[in-house]
Symmetry: C2
Subunit: 233 residues, 2 copies
């Protein structure tokens, strides 16, 4: 039998959040659950025809765009309950989406979106909102990358992850990172070496305990202060 959105523990965080119980019923019938995928596998790749939007059900994903020189740029990380794929609304996906660990997603196919939004104006508004939020997030990353020191960027990254984890019912202080140092560095516009040294500094200053991909935040406030602290570069 098919699992429904109403049963899903992520319902409060996910797209259907904005829908009434009646709307939800219609919505559910359109959502496809996709088979789980192994770490490193692509959900879609740059240039693929836009198929729909995806909500992370379990695990996590990164999205990347590839530069002309073959190097990739990580443009985002997505945790359970988060929706991604908006970059594809222009007919083709401009990013690739890769599973960072054993993960699964729900798919909301384009055809369903087109059908549904006619009947459910709330869904339309929510999609617009999420898309606008994606733009806002990207733009604040722009600010991040150009006006912040390496230290501030990593602090911002951890603060953001902590908040999102907590929102999803995980611990906000004991983080299990699913992405590599290289991914983090790439996302933040740094090198893996710098990120490694920054983690070391966090340990030395007793802001966090870092052991491989496990990060235990000791002083959230200090991290938060670091982000907004007295200008950037």
């Amino acid at each position: 039998m098919k699992l429904t959105c109403r049963d899903c523990s992520l319902a409060e965080l996910c797209l259907p959040r904005a829908l009434s119980p009646d709307d939800m019923e219609q919505f559910e019938t359109m959502v496809d659950q996709r088979p789980a995928m192994a770490r490193g596998n692509f959900l879609y790749q740059t240039g693929d025809v836009f198929g729909g939007l995806y909500a992370v059900k379990s695990g996590s994903f990164k999205t990347t765009i590839s530069a002309s020189d073959g190097e990739d740029q990580v443009t985002g990380f997505y945790l359970p309950g988060e929706l991604f794929g908006f970059d594809g609304f222009d007919d083709h996906y401009s990013c690739s989406a890769v599973a960072l660990e054993h993960s699964s997603v729900c798919e909301l196919p384009l055809s369903s979106i087109d059908q549904l939004v006619v009947k459910l104006p709330n869904l339309r508004r929510e999609l617009d909102r999420l898309m606008a939020r994606e733009i806002t997030t990207d733009q604040s990353m722009l600010l991040q990358l150009s006006r912040r020191t390496a230290e501030q960027r990593l602090a911002a990254f951890l603060v953001s992850l902590s908040l999102r984890f907590r929102q999803r019912g995980f611990s906000g202080t004991e983080l299990r990172l699913s992405m590599s140092r290289y991914d983090i560095a790439n996302y933040l516009g740094l090198t893996a070496e710098t990120v490694s040294r920054l983690f070391k500094r966090l340990k030395e200053h007793h802001l966090a305990l870092v052991n491989g991909r496990t990060v235990i935040i000791q002083d959230f406030e200090a991290l938060h202060r670091q982000v907004h602290g007295s200008g950037g570069r």
Copy 2:
């Protein structure tokens, strides 16, 4: 009498591009022409309630977000025929929009959008496309900022401007920049001093003649090569 979109020289570049003549007629009645505004004036500011989308009719605009330290980050420049304001779809604008020179816009109010998209599915699709394009642009700027040298960033900026100017019927080689060195630097994540030195280098290498805000591109190909040239930093 009211000017119509059909009369507008920018119709081919602007939002109504995707509409049939019949659709266009409905569309036009919804578009408001706003009085021209002087350089430095705000069209909207961060936190303003989302009123609608704007198309540049003449002149140009920049959008900025403000960081916690009071410093601003320029997130985009908009030329005639370009649409902006998508960041506001999440109820409130997350940017401020400032006229860079004597400028005018057409407004497509939110209420009209909601009414129109029901009747004109093509418009809906076009809006989605434009919004996706905004995301894609931002993300490629992310890549730009983190993986490119100062020189490559300025080259990319000029190439992009040149292409957009040409598309709008202006010269693609003789550019009249409406933004200050400071704005350019800010947009590219650099300082005004660095931008100034880079312009100097462009002159020395005979890639462009630069005189204040007038830039005459001498070797477009070389600029283009510089952008994609052999990795970044």
